[in-house]
Structure formats: C-alpha cells, structure tokens
C-alpha cells in the first residue's frame, strides 16, 4: 500500500530564516506531487505541483520554492521566511489516471 510522510509536524521559525519541508511517498512510482497551504480556518491553496523529477509548476507567485530531486521526494523551501508564510502546509500525491488526492499529515509553520 502507498503511504505519504511529511515532516516536521510543527515548526517555529524566525522571520528571515530559511525553510525546508520534506515529503516522501512510498509504495508507488512516478506520482504527481503537490504542496498546499492552508491558512487558519480557510481552504486549501495549491502552491506547487510536479509530474516528474525536476519538473515543478508554480501556481502562485510567492516567497517559496519547490524541488523534486527524486521520484518520490518533494521539498518545499524558502531562503528567507516572511510572517505571511505562516500556515499549515500539506503535501499530497495522486496518479495521472485517478484525480483522488492523498494527503500527508501536514506541517504547522509559525513564523515569528
């Protein structure tokens, strides 16, 4: 069976510090990978998605970047965090033939 791992679960970072959130998927190959952000009490905003190694599409202009160094690894990064980067970050995956998304457990990021 397939599983998705996302870490860390919580993170408190000062403004201007770098960020690296990691997500890995097990039990499948060549998944589509996604990063979403969720503000408190709000819906899901798609930040990045990837259909393969090194292939990244950005949905919204922002202070963040994403990379996919391996087939089942997706990383969300920032060189300098802003207060507005605070939120709940979710990694997700699916297959081309099935739109159903499978989500990770999320990372609660607080930028102070």
């Amino acid at each position: 069976s397939q599983t998705i791992h996302q870490w860390p679960a919580t993170l408190v970072q000062p403004v201007g510090s770098p960020l690296s959130l990691e997500c890995t998927v097990e039990g499948t190959s060549n998944p589509n990978l996604y990063w979403y952000r969720q503000a408190a009490g709000r819906g899901l905003q798609l930040l990045f998605y990837s259909v393969g190694i090194g292939q990244i599409s950005s949905e919204v202009p922002q202070n963040l970047s994403a990379s996919r160094p391996q087939d089942r690894q997706f990383i969300l990064s920032s060189k300098k965090l802003l207060l507005s980067d605070s939120g709940f970050y979710l990694c997700a995956w699916n297959w081309d033939s099935n739109e159903k998304l499978f989500f990770g457990s999320g990372t609660q990021l607080s930028v102070l």
Binding site: Q6, N32, Y34, R42, G43, L44, L46, Y49, F88, L90, A92, N94, W95, D96, N98, E99, K100, L101, F102, F103, G104, S105, G106, Q108
Partner: protein, 112 residues
C-alpha cells in the same frame, strides 16, 4: 473565475441526526467531484467521490448527491456521531489536468 463554494461555513447538528453539507460549483466542465474530512491539525481524508455521469453514490453512512442542472453537490451523513465533527471540503476537477479545486470548507459540529 471558476470556483467551488460552500453555502454554510458552520453546521451544528444533534448526535444521531442526519447532516447535509452543501457545495455549489460553477464550472460546468467539471467531471469529477470529491469530499474530504479534515480534523483539527490533520491532513484531509478522503470520504467519497462521484463522477459526472452519476447523480448519487453511497458509502458507509455517507451519500453524495450531484445535481448537474443547478451545479450543486451535497454530502449526507446519516446518524451523525461526535467523531464526525470536522471541517468538510468539497473539490472538483475542472479538467485542467489532475488538479483539484477546493471549496472553503464547512465546519460540522456535533452536539451531544
């Protein structure tokens, strides 16, 4: 632009009653719809999905109804339990690749 929205931000029901969560969508080209449940501090979990060639689909204690004429989607939960308390999101696939568009969510509160 195209969007998926929910009629009610918060829904309170008595334990044992049936719950109905509604969702309106505006993209008539959407051919796939899905409901997620998100508990506090966790990632969304798949509940049930439906394709546009159907108007009803049943799962365990849940039913999704799709009315393409008025572009309306609903999730019915039978015999609501305290464990059903969560935020429920609807999402659609507007056929722009496998990228779901999410609604803003409805908070379901189950009162004892």
């Amino acid at each position: 632009g195209e969007s998926v929205g929910l009629h009610l931000p918060t829904l309170s029901v008595q334990e044992g009653d049936n719950s109905i969560i509604n969702c309106a969508y505006s993209n008539s080209a959407s051919d796939y719809f899905i409901w997620y449940k998100q508990e506090s501090g966790k990632g969304p979990q798949f509940i049930i999905d439906i394709r546009s060639n159907m108007d009803k689909r049943q799962g365990q204690r849940v039913t999704v109804l799709l009315n393409k004429t008025v572009k309306h989607l609903s999730l019915q939960i039978a015999a609501t339990q305290p464990g059903d308390s969560a935020v429920y999101f609807c999402a659609e696939n507007p056929r722009k690749g496998n990228k779901l568009t999410f609604g803003t969510g409805t908070q379901l509160k189950v009162e004892l």
